[in-house]
């Protein structure tokens, strides 16, 4: 029974169980079976295997997370600033009221964060689904295509920022050169305050659409065939099959991809920082909550203020996840 279910790779280990004749048992050939320290240690480990195996990972992550969260809550109620060791006082909710009444930096940064995330997420889902459907059927050169679309998402974000800075440079960049050839107006892209945030969201789309496509492709390939057979017997068109069969069945996978991308887009940092530097440009035009929090912490050493900002930011992330979770539940019904 045991050997019957074992996969081919396991044969060297399991073969002797089904072999006719005398069964080889390792313990028969051991010199002397001492119930020594080693055995007792072995059985003790086995009894506590679950805890022993999981504890290091959980303990590590817990330490790295629990201390920061508690400390951030604490710091957010203080006026800690300057040197790390400098003494500070409790100021209550002052930092929170500071940010929530700050229409100069905080609210614009919040709207930018939401705009960037919503734009990137919407385009990534649409394009990702389109690419997944495009690559769904097998075709010649499939392996090469799937390998090629990996390139943007494994490339180092900082290098991607550099790359787009050159491509989108207003005077020497090839994109503007091509726009000029098509007699279209040249654009400022990253350098123009009005366009920079949208440009960055589109770079995010360029970088992460392949990820969404790969996730949805995995989801598509695990869908059962029967509903399609039933649909085509009923005479459903391709479009109807997509709308009434594919989309509902793929919905859980889409929600998972959305969650992942929403979280990462909300906390985007590398490309924004690499292309626009500290403060999100001369007019803070691309300053998202993450960039603002970084600046408050590590450039101005306003640790109290920054901690309050981070707590607000965390709540925004939790809210975004809750919305997607509700969407997922709604889509399943």
């Amino acid at each position: 029974m045991i050997t019957g279910t074992a996969p081919a790779g396991a044969e060297p280990d399991a073969a002797h169980l089904s072999a006719p004749g005398p069964v080889f048992r390792p313990e028969d050939h051991r010199p002397e079976r001492r119930r020594g320290l080693r055995d007792r240690l072995g059985s003790w480990i086995d009894r506590h295997l679950k805890v022993l195996f999981i504890a290091p990972s959980v303990a590590y992550i817990a330490t790295m997370i629990a201390f920061p969260i508690l400390y951030t809550v604490y710091l957010s109620l203080t006026n800690s600033q300057g040197a790390v060791t400098r003494p500070f006082d409790m100021v209550g909710l002052e930092n929170y009221t500071h940010w929530l009444t700050d229409t100069d930096r905080f609210w614009p940064a919040t709207w930018r964060t939401i705009y960037y995330t919503a734009l990137a997420l919407a385009l990534e889902m649409v394009f990702g689904l389109a690419i997944a459907l495009l690559l769904r059927k097998s075709f010649r050169g499939q392996g090469i295509v799937r390998a090629a679309i990996l390139a943007p998402l494994v490339a180092t974000p900082v290098a991607i920022g550099m790359m787009w800075m050159l491509l989108l440079e207003p005077n020497i960049g090839i994109v503007n050169h091509m726009l000029g050839n098509l007699s279209l107006p040249r654009l400022g892209f990253l350098t123009s305050p009005g366009q920079a945030l949208t440009t960055l969201a589109l770079i995010d789309v360029w970088q992460w659409t392949p990820m969404v496509a790969l996730i949805l492709l995995a989801g598509l390939s695990s869908l059962p065939d029967e509903p399609y057979e039933a649909a085509s017997v009923d005479g459903a068109s391709r479009l109807q099959q997509f709308w009434y069969v594919t989309l509902p069945m793929l919905w859980p996978t889409m929600a998972a991809a959305m969650m992942l991308r929403a979280v990462d887009a909300l906390k985007s940092f590398d490309v924004i920082y690499a292309t626009k530097g500290r403060g999100g440009g001369s007019e803070h035009e691309v300053e998202t909550l993450n960039i603002l929090a970084y600046g408050q912490s590590f450039e101005f050493s306003q640790y109290g203020r920054a901690s309050a900002l981070l707590m607000i930011f965390l709540m925004l992330i939790v809210a975004a996840l809750a919305v997607i979770h509700i969407l997922r539940k709604a889509g399943q019904q």
């Binding site: 050997t3 399991a14 072995g42 990972s57 799937r146 990996l150 290098a159 790359m163 940092f269 992330i317």
Partner: protein, 284 residues
């Protein structure tokens, strides 16, 4: 696989089918062009003189030069940063495998779903929110800028990946293998080490590759916690823009130097990367 095509089709549909597959080929070509041409352009620019880069007319016809790479390696001295990035990514991947694989095994065999959900918190929380307290703690301990701190914080990036990918992989391995090994006198931990782990090489490779890539690409942790000596490539390259902003050739060479290792790894281990990303993503 596709059951629709196995049904007998009316004849007049074939020309439509041919048109469809041509359209599909064109669409795939467009997708590939949009995704890959920017990277090709970056590589080309890294092989051009700055004079040729700033003039799009000359760009395509100009000759190749390796001067930008020489500049990056000698004049700007990127070699130590390359070594730092390798060391930190390698060490944090190794630690994540050693700590994460047993955890994933226990999670998959004892169905500890809460533990997975908890480890995924590491993916959800923004790095900046962790860095302020980390910075306070490590400064007080006087260890900021050291390799242990950088490796230790990068494990934070690599560990959730390893656990997510390996938990999925172990679940796909039949438990009977370990049970029969235990019948043969191995302890449960011994069965894991001698039977399960050797069979898990593809899963370990997948998670190692992904962990390495994401540690290599990480920017924020080293930006705050590294010193001049322990600086990683992404941090070095972002500083580079500040003082060499007109040296486009050098900049592109640096960008290629940093992306080349991960793109090569991804191309060579394409199958593993795709399955790992899909598994790691949907577990989140």
């Amino acid at each position: 696989m596709n059951t629709v095509t196995t049904l007998p089709l009316p004849r007049r549909r074939t020309s439509r089918h041919r048109l469809g597959s041509t359209l599909r080929t064109v669409a795939i070509a467009v997708v590939l062009a949009v995704l890959l041409l920017p990277i090709v352009w970056m590589v080309l620019a890294s092989l051009r003189t700055t004079l040729d880069i700033v003039d799009p007319q000359r760009f395509l016809t100009a000759g190749f030069t390796l001067d930008n790479y020489r500049g990056v390696l000698s004049r700007y001295n990127f070699s130590p940063f390359i070594a730092n990035s390798f060391l930190i990514a390698f060490a944090s991947t190794l630690i994540a495998l050693v700590v994460g694989a047993p955890a994933a095994f226990a999670i998959s065999r004892f169905h500890v779903r809460n533990a997975t959900a908890f480890l995924m918190l590491a993916r959800v929380l923004p790095g900046v929110s962790l860095l302020v307290p980390w910075f306070f703690l490590f400064s007080t301990l006087g260890v900021v800028g050291g390799y242990p701190v950088l490796i230790g914080t990068h494990v934070f990036v690599t560990l959730p990946f390893v656990v997510a990918v390996m938990a999925g992989f172990f679940t796909s391995l039949p438990e009977e293998l370990e049970e029969s090994a235990q019948v043969d006198g191995l302890t449960r931990a011994g069965a894991f080490l001698r039977i399960t782990l050797p069979l898990s090489v593809p899963g370990l490779a997948t998670s190692a590759i992904l962990a390495f890539i994401f540690s290599w690409n990480n920017f924020l942790f080293a930006l705050v916690l590294s010193s001049q000596q322990t600086r990683t490539l992404p941090v070095a390259i972002s500083n580079f823009t500040a003082y060499a902003s007109v040296d486009w050739g050098g900049l592109m060479a640096a960008a290629v130097v940093i992306t080349l290792p991960v793109i090569l790894v991804a191309l060579v281990a394409q199958k593993y990367v795709v399955s790992g990303l899909a598994a790691g993503a949907t577990k989140g």
